[in-house]
């Protein structure tokens, strides 16, 4: 059974600081996703990582993937209050007959304080 673990689960940081969220998964995957969720809202797609060594950046967020270590990171640079949300990583296991299904981590609840 595929397991996806995120850490930390809760992160409180000051504006302007840097931090990294880690996502470990237990089996080979076709692709890895990062999503953002605001309270009471749906999931917003941030990044799709498709291959070993993939790195993607959008604003103050940068995601990377190491398929050999089965590890993805989401790095936050110079955090601002607007980044406060819950961040999920999700691993996609695609099978020819089973199709695509996402297995999510527990989520990292990020709070950025002034």
């Amino acid at each position: 059974e595929l397991k996806v673990e995120q850490n930390p689960l809760f992160l409180s940081m000051q504006e302007g600081k840097n931090y990294t969220i880690y996502c470990n998964y237990s089996t080979t995957s076709d692709r890895l996703y990062w999503y953002r969720q605001d309270p009471g809202k749906s999931l917003e797609s941030l990044f799709v990582l498709l291959s070993n060594g993939a790195v993607k950046q959008e604003g103050r967020l940068m995601a990377s993937l190491d398929t050999k270590a089965r590890l993805s990171t989401l790095h936050i640079t110079a955090a601002v209050h607007d980044l406060s949300a819950t961040y999920f990583c999700a691993v996609d296991i695609f099978g020819e007959t089973s199709g695509s299904r996402l297995t999510f981590g527990e989520g990292t609840q990020l709070t950025v304080n002034p």
Binding site: Y33, L43, G99
Partner: protein
């Protein structure tokens, strides 16, 4: 283009009742997936449908069923509701070989 739409937005039911949730995917997307997100947890995969056929099923009891229509919209049905079925139900729409785009969700409360 309109995104994924779901209805209703909120729903309150009592134990033992049945519920039907609806989802319309993004135009041109033929695959729809359903996820359950209990408060404080990550979403869990329930079903995936592609071209009206079930392509995958998560670890959910037979009380959960779904179908996809010729226009690619989908319904999720849950029978004999339990308190533990209270959750946000998310529908995701997927183009070929691409990310899954999530709808706004239906918040189900079972009393």
């Amino acid at each position: 283009d309109a995104g994924v739409t779901q209805s209703p937005t909120h729903l309150i039911k009592t134990r033992g009742q049945q519920v039907t949730l609806r989802c319309s995917p993004i135009s041109g997307h033929k695959s729809v997936s359903w996820y359950q997100q209990v408060l404080g947890q990550g979403p869990q995969f329930i079903f995936q449908y592609y071209e009206k056929e079930e392509r995958g099923r998560g670890n959910f009891p037979d009380r959960f069923s779904a179908r996809q229509f010729p226009n690619y919209s989908s319904e999720l049905n849950v029978n004999a509701l339990l308190l533990g079925d209270s959750a946000l139900y998310l529908c995701a729409s997927t183009p070929p070989s691409d990310t899954q785009y999530f709808g706004p969700g239906t918040r189900l409360t079972v009393l």
